[in-house]
Amino acid sequence: MIIFDGVTVKFDSFTALPAFSLHVREGEFFTLLGPSGCGKSTALRALAGFADLSAGDIHVAGRKITHLPSGKREVGMVFQNYALFPSMNVRENIAFGLRVQKLSKAETDRRVNEIAERVDLSQQQLDKQVAELSGGQQQRVAIARALVLRPKVLLLDEPLSNLDAKLRRQLRVQLKELQGQFGITTLYVTHDQDEALSMSDRIAVLDQGRIEQIGTPREVYERSATEFVCTFVGEVNRLSPAMVGTLAASGASGLDVDAPTYVRIEKVKVARAGAGAGAAYAGIAVPATVESHTYHGMHDVCRLRAEHGSLRAVLTGHDGWHPAAGEQVDLVIDPASLLQYPGSTGVFAAAGAGR
């Protein structure tokens, strides 16, 4: 549906996007995820026609749009701050593109009312000034304004970043539902991994203009292709070579002791001292001391010191046990949950038992 074919975007001598290639399937909710300055917004703006390409082509629905002006690309966009026209009311904002196309008043009204109903905007809200709406309502206006022209692709440029945490969570669900209703191919840009993991059909993780991994959220999280993806998505512990050696000596096979090795913090289990592996959790038990303990509501996070380094672990506290600082415990690591990136490339390699 969307094809970036060797797209290069330069700003003077700086190359923001070097030979970027990507294929987004029809109807997909596809996310570009990465830190600030990784090129994700540049890719989106190149697709929208706001960034000049130095090389490469972009296709949408089989049509090359590389040299088409923005307004002819059949692409709808929701901006980070929504970019609603403050001098117009909600109805005028939504009707803007239809009026540019010189549709009759009757047809314009019909389509505005139709889209407003689908995004759950009332007639009363349509006659309000955009400044009078809440953040969530403004977002729905921006989506309606983009979708009323029936674009082939919807671009979302960090549309939740200006909202408070609770509203963000609510709107994630609404946004995903709307995308499902319309069935429109959507390219979403964010630096928020929670958003990417919870909303996307597939994710491309970017770093310095290059794609590090493309995959489903589960693939990206659980089988991070590169060391960058592993450390950028989720929270991980980096194990010292000595600790990897301890695990290898304790029976974990196929581990490369010298390779950078990570384990996600929720994969490190904590058991009462002596209970160790087997009794509560599968894996290799290592004696440790609780250094600190922080309460997060739904779970606790412990910092544990073992003989060969410190690790963090998530405790769900289901059994009502909350180890205190200084308490002796066993940390249990399943070698199958280890992520190793041997060699200079830092690319994921299957290692450890069970892989």
């Binding site: 966009m77 701050n81 970019a83 803007f96 196309q101 400044a131």
Partner: protein, 600 residues
């Protein structure tokens, strides 16, 4: 050629407007100054410094230079002392009746330039109201007591605090109250907090207004011309005198250039200081400054007495102008008001008699036409300069600021000298003495402030509004008309109001360029003020002054009052989604040149 220049050259509208703009810039901003320099350095075709030697040998010219710099230095101190006091009294300390005090001090915003000079002369001048009262008490005193350097300094000090009211008040409002509370909590006294916490934050603004005050003193015109007498003449009135004598035109040009060079040096210093010396609040959640109580009862009483004494000094002249504008000629002459003194005849005459209303009609006509031309032109030019950044647009932008960098006297004199002979670039016609030349000078004078404010407003509009419109299929002109224009129009209207307001009582430019049959209000007021004794014209002048104050008040309310009202509304309602810069928010932009009402 970079991408921006290439894109710019693809637009025929930009090309045509650019060509017209370049012609205007060269013909009326650059060329007249080159002609002036030639007049000074190449009077007979070969290089000569004769003009400087002539200047140095002229006692009057040397005295005017000395007096101008002396006046500028004195004002830098006096205006700051009074200005800082009135700002602190109304906005920092919790004084009783602070709002009323502010209204009194703010009369300078609607009452400046020739109107103020005329007002002070009417009250304290040789035939002034206060002088007559004083003569009744002290018959032996000199009736011309209010003249010379001290009188000029007093008038210019009192009317020169408008920069403080606008800019220092605005800077003070940005002081984070939490820093004051933090200092209090650390045990600092009120005096120490003011000295070490508050004033350092205001330092850049104070420096800026000091430079502006110095420049105001250097280019002083109406005040020294009326009140200075023979012994205290300054550069600008002297330029006017020399310009009227054919054999001394080179002397006028030399003085104007000296003034221009001094202005350029000071503005360069100001820009450097502004670039490096601004303190920004580091707080993520700054809180509004709350007025501080003066805990020492003696200090509190002294400050109250001083504040109200100044209030009276500020308010009396404009108040008397308003009162006496409603009285008959004999009352104005005698200064004694009885119930039978009041009449509407003066207003009836100005509003119904063609000859009496003529200066007002001329001024309104000039101000309306030129303010409209400037705003229409700059709405487009500011957009182009903001959108396309390349060496050509940067150079044009600098050139458009020439009237801001040079005193209006220099610009006016340049135009008079240059277009007193036929010039090819204006169709081989002579412009000096025509109606057009004053209009051109007005337009040129208002370009910099209009451009800066509109450009700041355009820059304040988020780029993605335009991108959103483009993505929705709108063309460039459609996006400009439907999306951008509605957002800049409030600023455009406000800047137009300010421009209109300041042109209405212009004197400095008009006195050089006005057509003898179409003399604007500034000249009429000044002529009436300088005439001996009280004439029939005095009553008309008072009416002109009142009408000017009313128009200025309306313009100031339009620009600042509406903003305050909308802020009050905004506090009640939800915040807006876009933040176009308002004209009033662009105050800082005008910090490099005096405000319109502050010219003397």
């Amino acid at each position: 050629m970079n991408g921006s220049a290439r894109r710019m050259l693809r637009s025929p509208l930009v090309l045509v407007t650019g060509a017209v703009l370049l012609w205007f810039v060269f013909a009326f901003l650059v060329f007249p100054n080159l002609v002036m320099l030639r007049e000074i350095f190449f009077p007979d075709g070969s290089f000569s410094t004769r003009a400087f030697a002539k200047l140095w040998s002229s006692d009057r010219a040397r005295a005017s230079l000395r007096n101008s710099f002396l006046l500028a230095a004195v004002l830098s101190v006096t205006v700051n002392v009074v200005g800082v006091f009135i700002v602190l009294a109304t906005r920092y300390f919790a004084l009783r009746g602070a709002r009323l005090l502010w209204l009194g001090y703010a009369t300078t915003l609607v009452y400046g330039g020739v109107v103020a000079v005329s007002g002070y002369t009417f009250v304290y001048g040789e035939h002034g109201f206060a002088t007559r009262l004083l003569l009744d008490i002290f018959p032996g005193m000199d009736p011309a007591w209010f003249s010379g350097g001290p009188a000029v300094a007093v008038v210019m000090t009192l009317t020169g605090t408008s920069h403080h009211l606008l800019f220092l008040t605005s800077a003070l409002a940005r002081v984070d109250h939490q820093t004051v509370e933090a200092a209090q909590q650390l045990g600092a006294s009120s005096w120490r907090i003011l000295r070490q916490v508050v004033l350092p934050v205001l330092k850049p603004t104070l420096f800026a207004v000091t430079v502006l005050t110095f420049l105001g003193g250097l280019t002083a015109f109406a005040a020294p011309q009326v009140l200075g007498g023979r012994d205290f003449q300054t550069i600008t009135p002297m330029i006017l005198t020399f310009a009227g004598i054919p054999s001394s035109r080179d002397l006028a040009a030399t003085l104007a250039v000296v003034l221009g060079v001094a202005t350029l040096i000071l503005l360069t210093v100001l820009n450097r200081m502004q670039a490096g010396g601004t303190y920004f609040s580091v707080s993520k959640v700054p809180s509004a400054l709350r007025r501080q109580r003066i805990t020492n009862p003696v200090a509190n009483a002294v400050v109250h007495v001083l504040a109200y004494a100044l209030f009276a000094v500020y308010l009396i002249p404009p108040l008397l102008i308003v009162v006496f504008s409603f009285t008959n000629a004999s009352t104005i002459a005698s200064g004694r008001i009885t119930p039978g003194s009041f009449t509407l005849a003066n207003y009836r005459q100005v509003l119904t008699d063609a000859a009496s209303s003529w200066p007002f009609v001329v001024s309104i006509g000039y101000a309306a036409v030129t303010a409209s031309v400037v705003i229409v032109l700059m709405l487009f030019v500011a957009r182009v300069l903001q959108k396309y950044v390349n060496p050509v647009t940067v150079a044009v932008e600098y050139l458009l600021h020439i009237p801001w960098m040079l005193p209006s006297t220099l610009t006016a004199l340049g135009l008079v000298i240059t277009y007193s002979v036929p010039r090819a670039m204006v169709g081989d016609t002579v412009l000096t003495g025509t109606l057009a030349l004053l209009a051109i000078a007005y337009i040129a004078a208002k370009i910099p402030i209009t451009l800066r404010m509109l450009k700041a407003t355009y820059a304040g509009i988020p780029d993605n509004l335009e991108e959103a419109a483009t993505l929705l299929g709108a063309s460039g002109p459609h996006t400009f008309r439907r999306v951008l224009l509605p957002l800049v129009l409030p600023t455009a209207a406000a800047v137009s109001a300010l421009n209109f307001n300041s042109l209405l009582d212009d004197y400095d430019t008009s006195v050089f360029l006005a057509h003898p049959l179409y003399e604007p209000l500034g000249i009429a007021i000044q002529n009436a003020t300088r005439s001996e004794g009280t004439s029939d014209n005095t009553a008309l002048t008072l009416v002109y002054a009142v009408l000017l104050m009313a128009v200025s008040g309306l313009a100031m309310w339009f620009v600042y009052g509406r903003r305050a009202a909308s802020r009050r509304t905004a506090r009640r309602d939800r915040p807006s989604t876009a933040h176009p810069t308002s004209a009033a928010d662009a105050d800082a932009a005008s910090l490099t040149r005096p405000t319109p009402t502050a010219s003397h």
